[in-house]
Structure formats: C-alpha cells, structure tokens
C-alpha cells in the first residue's frame, strides 16, 4: 500500500489457468511483446480469486494488480467468472475508498487464443500505473 | 522543595522541553480523540480532558517493540541490537497513569530477569503529571493504597492546580528536579500556605470520586470464588475484544513473534497481547486451558485483583476507569469485582 514513487513498476497478474494463463503463453508464441513489469500468479479460476490476496498484494507493495479470466460463458467451471464479475466492481470501489487509486487495479477477459489482446491489456495496465505514479 | 508556576509559564517550559527532547502530551484530533502524541509546539497540548483515550504506557512499553534484527548469510546468523532509546518526556498524564508505570516497573524487574528494553527506555523517560481537579464517574483511584488525584507515585514532577491559575510544582526525582533547575526562571518558590492549599485541593477532589472499593475484602472474597457460579453469568455481555486491556495503564501481557522481511532478514518483535483473546493460551496442537470465554473473563479480574496481589502486594489496576469507558458494552470493573460471591 506504499505510496512511494519507485522507478520499477510491479504489477501482480492473477491469471486463470484455463484461458488467460494460456493466453499469456500465446503472447510469447506469437512474438508479441509486453512489459516485463507483470509478475504472473496462476489461479484455478477467477471465481477462486480471494479478495484477501489482492489486498495482500497491494499491502506488500504491488503497484498494480491485474486479474484476468475467461470470457463470460467460457468458464471452465461454467460460472466462476460470473462471480468474479460481481466481486470486481465492489472491490474496486472499496479499495478506491481506502485510497488505492482506480488506475492500480484492473480486470480483463483474455481467452487462450488472444495472445495479442493480453499484450495490449498488460501495456494498458502498466501505462495506467505509470500515469498514477507520475501524475498522482 | 516546592515551586509555583503559572499556566502560561508551563507552556514556556513545555516549549523548552520540546526543543531539547521528544515530548508526548495529550493532543486532540479531528475525531475528538485525545491521545499522547508528539508535540511540535506547546499550543497543541490539550489539557482540558481528564483522561486520554489510551494511556501513555505505549510510549515506554511500546505496543510493538522491535527487539533485534536478524540477518542470515552463508556464514550463519548475526543479531543486530536496536538503537539506544532516545530521551523522552511524557507531559500531562494523570496520577493514575503515572502510577501505572510504577506497577509495570516492578513486573519488568521481577525476579532475576530484568527486561532491558523496558528499563532502558524508562530510565530515559521523564514523567510530568498533573493532579486531577475533576474526577469523573468512572474514576476510583482512591480505592488503592497509593491512589489519589494528587498522588506522586511514578511521577518525576507533579503539578497541582491551585487558585488564580497557578500550579504547585513538586519534584520527586532527580529527573523532575532537573526540569525545574533547567527552567528555573519560570518557577517561583512556594510558601507554606500553598502546601496547605494542596491539601484542600486533595480533599475537594477526592470528594468527587463517588466509588471507593474495599479491595482487601474483595480479595478475600475472590480467593475461594474460582469455581463460583457467579462467573457463569457475569461474563455474558463481554464480547472478548481487547479494548479494556489495551487502554489499561497496567495490563502488560505480551507475545513475542517474528516479522520476516524475506528469507534472510527478520526481526523479533514483542507486541501487546490480551488475555481476552482466544489464541492467547492456545497451544500448538489445539489444547487450550482457557478455552471458553468465562475462563478468560475470570482470568482478567482474578489476575488484577487477586493473583497479582499475591505476587507483588499491590493490585494490577490504578483505578483510572478507562476500561469502563472503552468497553463497547459498558462492563464496569467495579461492579464485577464487588459482586463476586
């Protein structure tokens, strides 16, 4: 939760095992380049994404957090990402209330084939975090 | 020797102290919370409230005391002691708070084991106390042998408000005398009559304390009451938070934990703990001798007014009444121990 301005941006990416993690693999296979600021943690499903872990990530000094899962309707467990879709706006709103800027917390849908999109998403997240760091 | 000082000059002395040392005094914030905080200027001192919300205990016996840093490397482990504590002044606490330090001092010097983190810090602390003019409905300091709104136990310097905005200043230790001698220009010598005025102040102030407990009789009642059915119902309103223990000037229980920064660096930390917490006595493996809430509730009162008296010949309580005010369900320690049967 530190507000210090650091040179290196650290973004923690929680990626669902079935779509986004494979999507991130695809990014590499497709030779798409994305910023190396993201540190990826694989989770079984965005439905399993415990908000405690996101809060903990910010607490331990992450500048940004990205949670990415399958597109709605494509969930391996059929409905996990629907639950996440409800948790996300509430969590984001609460974190903002605590003073964690909205530019630091993002969510996306990236399927296993969307390597290009994953690169775009990470670029956007890092740019947003940078914007927060530089412009307050 | 006693001195006189005006309220304006107290602020001057306070400013002089701030210039030389770290001074903690009651300060009011935007939410009307009055806490001992570091002062930058004497004008921040909030002297109107009787008691601060939490005690000054945490300035000497820190809520989280960093014992030492531990560094691991390929040659083994090195232990790095913390920096020596700085000189501090606790200004404007009440006689009950000051006496709390006296009570904990004995604990940390008990038997052969002297807690040097505490004693070193205590040695560098000057405590300036202000006698209480308007005790509140929660006060019961006069129930204790050494308790009174003008008691000096634990204080280095005691200021007692007299007529015409003047204060009687009495030093009880070298540290207290030094405060006077360093700022002698603000003090004037007191006469016999002022000492008498203090007596009158004491009588008037003590008269405002509505409750006086017979603690010796209560202790006699407590000794056989361990298995009493009384505990079955009296604990029911208690929600088992730690508010009472954390605002208490005498509660001292702690836990020692390790805070790891990474695989190679960590820090040993002592933090306040509370006997109200379920995990306080839970052993590894799950056995817990004080598993249910009744037992923990009983332990708190038994410890304060029975066990501690057996070990130290004084109660682990100074009668400040903070626990009564802080309790979310208004449990009154006086009623709890008076009702024991």
């Amino acid at each position: 939760m530190s507000n210090e301005k650091k040179k290196d941006i650290n973004v923690v990416g929680f990626l669902c095992n079935w779509c986004s993690y494979a999507g991130a693999d695809m990014t590499g296979l497709g030779r798409n380049i994305y910023p190396s600021n993201i540190k990826i943690i694989r989770i079984p499903c965005t439905g399993r994404m415990d908000p405690m872990m996101i809060i903990e990530a910010f607490h331990n000094g992450a500048d940004g957090v990205l949670v990415s899962g399958c597109h709605p309707g494509d969930c391996h467990y059929s409905e996990g990402n629907f639950y996440w879709r409800r948790r996300y706006p509430h969590l984001k709103s609460l974190m903002e209330h605590f003073g964690i800027d909205k530019r630091r917390f993002h969510a996306s849908w990236v399927s296993a084939s969307e390597g290009k999109k994953f690169a775009e998403v990470v670029k956007k997240v890092v740019a947003d975090v940078k914007d927060w760091q530089e412009n307050g | 020797m006693a001195y006189l000082i005006t309220k304006e000059n107290i602020k001057e002395v306070l400013n002089a102290l701030i210039a030389a040392k770290t001074v903690y005094a009651p300060k009011k914030d935007a939410e009307d919370t009055v806490l001992f905080e570091k002062l930058v200027n004497a004008s921040e001192w909030h002297g109107d409230s009787l008691l601060t919300h939490t005690t000054a205990k945490d300035k000497v016996y820190l809520q989280s005391e960093r014992f030492f840093k531990i560094k691991k490397d390929k040659n083994g482990v090195t232990i790095e002691d913390p920096a020596e504590p700085e000189e501090i002044v606790i200004f404007g606490c009440r006689p009950c708070d000051a006496r709390g330090f006296d009570v904990i001092n004995k604990l940390f010097n008990w038997s052969d084991f002297v807690d040097e983190y505490y004693t070193k810090r205590m040695a560098k602390t000057t405590i300036i106390t202000i006698s209480c003019e308007k005790p509140e409905s929660t006060c019961f300091c006069t129930s204790f042998a050494k308790g009174s709104p003008v008691n000096e136990t634990g204080s280095d310097l005691l200021l007692t408000p007299l007529k015409d905005g003047k204060y009687l200043a009495e030093a009880y230790t070298e540290k207290g005398e030094k405060v006077i001698s360093d700022n002698l220009k603000y003090f004037s010598e007191a006469a016999e009559t002022e000492a008498k005025e203090k007596e009158a102040f004491k009588t008037a102030s003590e008269a405002k304390i509505i409750k006086k407990l017979d603690l010796a009789a209560i202790k006699k009642l407590m000794e056989p009451a361990f298995e009493s059915a009384y505990w079955e119902t009296v604990h029911l309103p208690c929600v088992k938070c730690g508010a009472c223990t954390f605002v208490c000037p005498t509660c001292y229980c702690f836990d020692i934990t390790e805070k790891a920064f990474d695989n190679m660096n960590s820090e040993r930390v002592r933090s306040w703990d509370t006997c109200m917490s379920e995990i306080f006595t839970r052993m590894a493996g799950g056995v817990n001798p004080r598993s249910d809430t009744k037992k923990r509730f009983r332990q708190r009162f038994m410890h304060k007014f029975n066990y501690h008296v057996d070990n130290f010949k004084e109660e682990l309580c100074t009668g400040c009444g903070r626990c009564i005010k802080a309790c979310p369900v208004s449990i009154d320690v006086r009623k709890v121990i008076e009702g024991i049967k």
């Binding site: - | 008990w110 038997s111 002297v114 020692i256 790891a260 002592r270 703990d273």
Partner: protein
C-alpha cells in the same frame, strides 16, 4: 541474569534422529564454544528455541546436565515452529535461550528409590531426569522406569532402553496398550501395569508424565498404593512465550508455570484449579 534476556545464543544442529513418525531428536551445539561450556541446566528445566524467520517455541531438555557437551531436544511436529524445525538439516543455525523454570529436586531425594512413570511422548520430558539419576546412581537406591505407549511403534528412545537397564539396580518395565508380533513385554494400560508391579511407597519418589487421562489414573493408583501427595512429582505443560513470568499467559492462580514450575508435586497441584 545479566544482559538482554531475550537474546538467544546462536547454535548449530549437529545431529538429527528420527524417534517415531512425528518426533525427531535434535542435538544442538553453541557456535561459541566457551558459552557452550558455561551453559548449564538442571533436569526438568526447559529452553526456548528460536527459529530465525519463524519464531520461538518452548522445548524441554532431553539430555541431563551431566552430558552437556551438546543440548538435545525431542520435538513433536504440532505447530508453526515445530513443523519448521522438522524441515531443518544438520548444520542449520538456530537460537537457544534459557534455561528457564524449576527442576526436579534430586538433591532432596538422595538415598531414595525413584519410580518413573511415563506414557507416550511424556518420556521426552522424563528422559533428562532419568539419565541424570542414572549418571549419579550412587546417590540413589533402586530406579524403576515404567513406560507405556499405544503400540510398540510409538515408543520413543527405544535404543536407549538397553543402556538404561545395564545400570545397577535399575529396572525397565515396558508396556503397550496393544501388543504386536514379536512384542515380549507387557500388554495393557500404564495404570493397570502399575497396579500389577505394586511398587512400595517406602522411601520412594514417583515422577510421572504423560497424557492427562493417564496421569489421572496413575495418580489414583499411586494414592491407593500408599504414596503421599508430596511423594508424587510431575511436570506441566502450558503455552509460554517469555520463559520468566512476564508475558502473563502460563499462570495457574498466582503461579507461573514457566517461573514457579514446570515441576510440581501433587501436593501443590491438588490446591490449584483445573486450568492447565
């Protein structure tokens, strides 16, 4: 005691031995050889083991002061620290502070018979007093050790038994709640075996340690045999943090287990409430 009472001695693990499924014995030696020579304790006391980066926990000395070239602890895997200790290897660094608590008053027992009764892991707490008595056997008369566990598999210190038995006038009685193939010793619960052995209370001190249920019935047996409460000694266990009566959690009434205990006679315990 001078200096910082919270600061541990740095020690290294010199030996690890697996006793049973979840118990390992560790031998520690101080890095500072002189400190190791000076470090002494009495059977019955305990130490606080520091795992740097994890925390502290209380363990009892498993070896007696007569064998103090190292410190030995038998540690059962139950909590945060003990689990981490089980991960350690020979050569790893730990911290040790202590010794704390009181001890078995052997000086008062000179010329007496000693009866040790242990159940399960309770023997870990009695190993130090047993070996101390064996090492100074000339001061005592007969020594009887009655030890039982759920099954022959669960007995600790199996390899020590033959050494112990070799000492003059020493008798080992082993029992298991349930026997197994090749088990040549007794089968049955410790209290029942105690009744069968029928030790005489004359000039004898009984030192017991084990699970609460065993203690309860052993006490009853001993009292039936004619032992007086001050002839029965046990050692208590409670959550401890500091080791010297300051942290406030291990009290039973006004007594702190870490400072006034852990060794108590049954005469003392009788008057204490059941909060340990």
């Amino acid at each position: 005691m001078t200096g910082n009472i919270y600061k541990p001695h740095i020690a290294k693990i010199i030996d690890i031995k697996i006793e049973t499924g979840d118990i390992k014995s560790f031998k520690f030696q101080f890095v500072d050889q002189a400190a190791q020579k000076e470090f002494t304790w009495k059977a019955g006391q305990f130490l606080i083991l520091n795992l740097f980066g994890i925390g502290e926990a209380v363990f009892t000395f498993a070896n007696p002061q007569t064998r103090n070239e190292y410190i030995e602890c038998s540690i059962r895997k139950v909590g945060l620290v003990s689990e981490a200790v089980h991960e350690l290897e020979i050569g790893d660094t730990v911290g040790i502070r202590g010794p704390y608590g009181n001890w078995f008053p052997f000086e008062k027992w000179h010329g007496k018979n000693l009866l040790y009764v242990a159940g399960g892991v309770g023997l870990a707490a009695l190993r130090s007093p047993i070996e101390f008595a064996l090492d100074t056997k000339q001061d005592f008369k007969n020594i009887t050790i009655l030890y039982g566990a759920r099954s022959p598999m669960d007995l600790c210190y199996k390899d020590k038994f033959s050494d112990w038995e070799k000492v003059k006038d020493t008798q080992m009685i082993l029992t298991a709640d349930k026997g197994a193939d090749g088990w040549k010793h007794k089968v049955g619960f410790v209290p029942a075996v105690l009744k069968e052995v029928h030790p005489s209370p004359k000039d004898t001190v009984a030192i017991i340690c084990g699970p609460p249920i065993m203690i309860k019935f052993v006490l009853k047996e001993l009292l039936d045999l004619g032992f007086t409460p001050d002839q029965i000694v046990t050692t208590l266990e409670m959550k401890m943090k500091c080791g010297f009566g300051k942290c406030g959690r291990c009290n039973v009434k006004h007594l702190y287990i870490c400072k006034d205990g852990p060794v108590f006679t049954y005469a003392q315990l009788k008057d204490l409430p059941d909060e340990y």
